[in-house]
């Protein structure tokens, strides 16, 4: 045997063993995940999803997660979706509407479970080999509470025109504010330079829509608002140390748990169309009194008693 062949034989054996090795060393189930943006809300939802799915099928199946956290724009969402479809994963999971829309646009045969979608139109998704859950926060309550906290004429609305669901939130809150005689001021966040608009925004208070782009730069945004003594309200939860005055939100964990239950059913052979989608409507109201003090806002006692949590 030539020397070259003698050297190559063990290498070829190792490579062929690695490629055709025991099945249990390869993932039995591969789940592709696309997050609309790399923001804590979706990350926490996904952590719960992973923990719950492991609890439900971990003993019988080995699961590999291929997680995509693209920069929030339509090309990146589309690329992330295509990549996972090309990997031929067994199940796709999406967080947020833009990522969900990008996967649906590809018309893949891979089943889809979505979560973290605000006010999802489940009926429109019927027959698309998809099921999932979302949440709905009554935006009118945001306007109502802000009005009780501070007298204001103009409400700034932070959203992103590339995220269809945040555009819908802007349009909804515009109508609701108009009913109360309040004007709205658009603040469209598309790039990292857009929060600079806040330096000259003629708003007395600001509502932050569930936009991944707005939440990517949320610290800079809140710092700019704080400098101008403008209170902010959000429909995504915030950490205790955040500069946001008020949140009315749906915690991410219940959606992560429910999505995991749906994924487990699909992996066990149930068709997505047979699994009823769900919209979470229970909300948590949080006031940050430290921020209120800094802004010179006195939160009335009758509002405080409504709060699920008060940060002092």
């Amino acid at each position: 045997m030539p020397i070259f062949a003698k050297l190559m034989l063990p290498i070829l054996l190792v490579v062929s063993w690695a490629l055709t090795g025991p099945a249990e060393l390869c993932a039995a189930v591969r789940i592709g995940v696309v997050m609309t943006g790399d923001i804590p809300y979706y990350s926490e939802m996904h952590e719960t999803f992973v923990a719950e799915l492991s609890r439900q099928i971990g003993a019988t199946e080995k699961v590999e997660f291929l997680v995509q956290k693209p920069f929030p724009n339509s090309i990146s969402w589309s690329n992330a979706a295509r990549k996972l479809i090309a990997f031929d994963v067994d199940l796709l999971v999406t967080y947020g509407w833009p990522a969900t829309a990008a996967v649906l646009h590809e018309k893949s045969a891979i089943p889809l479970v979505y979560a973290g979608v605000h006010a999802p139109n489940h009926a429109a998704l019927a027959g698309r080999n998809a099921t999932g859950c979302g949440f709905k926060v009554p935006l009118s309550s945001i306007v109502r509470y802000l009005k009780n906290l501070k007298s204001f004429q103009t409400l700034g609305v932070l959203f992103s025109s590339v995220e269809e669901d945040s555009v819908r939130q802007y349009e909804t809150i515009k109508v609701l504010a108009a009913r109360q005689g309040i004007q709205t001021q658009k603040i469209d966040i598309r790039s990292r330079f857009d929060p600079e608009q806040l330096k000259a925004i003629p708003a007395d208070a600001v509502f932050i829509a569930a936009s991944s782009l707005a939440h990517l730069w949320i610290e800079e945004i809140l710092a700019l608002l704080s400098e101008q003594q403008i209170p902010a309200a959000d429909i995504l939860p915030h950490a205790v140390e955040s500069e946001v005055l008020m949140t009315l939100s749906q915690p991410p964990q219940p959606q992560g748990e429910m999505a995991a239950g749906m994924a487990a059913q699909i992996l066990n052979g149930v068709a997505p169309g047979k699994i009823a989608p769900h919209t979470f409507r229970e909300t948590e109201l949080v006031f940050n009194l430290e921020v209120a003090r800094r802004l010179g806002i006195n939160v009335p006692i009758h509002l405080l008693i409504e709060a699920t949590r008060v940060i002092e």
């Binding site: 709905k136 009554p138 229970e282 909300t283 008693i305």
Partner: protein, 303 residues
């Protein structure tokens, strides 16, 4: 002689002492006339605003009666019943269910009702959901969350229980994912508006007041059921209270809309006038209580 004088002196002193002892009794009123009138108030959502409204009424009554009139907010609905039992209160402004209980269990006298600024003295219980929810009847309620006001409210507990019972829902723990008491009518309304509960119950007067302040509320909430209308607030007095004082108090309250000082106090109290109350007005509440008695007994056992 000396003994006669001594005897006269002793007799005189005895008579004097007797007269001295009887004098205050003769000067005092024949019955239990208090120097202060202590009246309980059931708490509303904004107790600061509530105390302010009642303060003006207390000042007016004190001026007219020439005794101190003190209003005290009871810690929660229904507490008046317990406090009456302990004889700490002379009267209380009570909502329909506590009024009915007080009439039945304590033999109190219903005196007057305030008439609201809209000319109505009654309230109704409402059961409501968000307009954008899929709940349009009792059948859609299974597995959802429901918020009541307080176990001692007709509009916020008795009526919704009766509604549920009529639709075959007789076990709150089994039929709902969650049920809880918000503590006030406004809180129950806000809980449903915010999505913190799927179904709520509260009284019409608070519902309408909030809706008048914020016109979006009527567009956002859908009313599924309405209870019969009953007097919203009733001033009840203990029967042992001095008859003269009770009579004077009744007259003052019923005629206060006829003088400028009284009109001012009424305006600040947010009422047009007071009208005479009658025990028979609470028969609808008694009927509702009777209807839900099995559920109340069950809830009592759990407590």
């Amino acid at each position: 002689m000396k003994s006669w004088r001594l005897s006269c002196l002793v007799r005189g002193l005895a008579v004097g002492l007797l007269l001295w002892g009887l004098l205050p009794a003769a000067l005092a009123p024949a019955t239990d006339q208090p120097h202060e009138l202590l009246v309980g108030i059931e708490p509303e959502h904004n107790i600061f605003d509530q105390m302010e409204r009642y303060r003006h009424l207390a000042d007016y009554l004190a001026g007219q009666l020439q005794i101190k009139v003190r209003f005290t907010i009871m810690s929660r609905y229904g507490e008046g019943i317990k406090r009456f039992k302990a004889r700490k209160l002379d009267g209380a402004f009570l909502t329909p269910y506590p009024t009915n209980k007080a009439l039945q269990e304590l033999d109190l006298e219903p005196l007057v009702h305030p008439v609201g600024l809209d000319g109505d003295l009654t309230s109704q219980g409402y059961i409501f959901v968000r307009q954008d929810s899929a709940i349009r009847g009792a059948d859609d309620m299974y597995g959802k969350s429901i918020v009541f006001v307080d176990p001692a409210t007709m509009e916020g507990y008795l009526f919704p229980l009766a509604y549920l019972l009529r639709h075959g829902m007789d076990d709150l723990s089994r039929d709902f994912s969650r049920f809880y008491f918000a503590g006030s009518h406004a809180s129950a309304i806000l809980a449903v508006l915010d999505g913190r509960a799927d179904i709520g119950a509260a009284k019409s007067t608070v519902f309408n007041r909030l809706a008048d302040e914020d016109n979006s509320i009527r567009q956002e909430l859908f009313i599924l059921g309405r209870s019969p209308a009953v007097p919203e607030i009733t001033l009840c007095l203990r029967k042992e209270l001095d008859a003269t004082l009770r009579s004077r108090l009744t007259t003052i309250l019923l005629t206060m809309d006829q003088n400028s000082q009284g009109q001012m106090a009424l305006k600040r109290f947010k009422a047009l006038r007071f009208v005479k109350a009658m025990a028979a007005e609470f028969s609808k509440v008694a009927a509702l209580e009777e209807e839900v008695r099995p559920l109340l007994k069950e809830a009592g056992k759990r407590e």
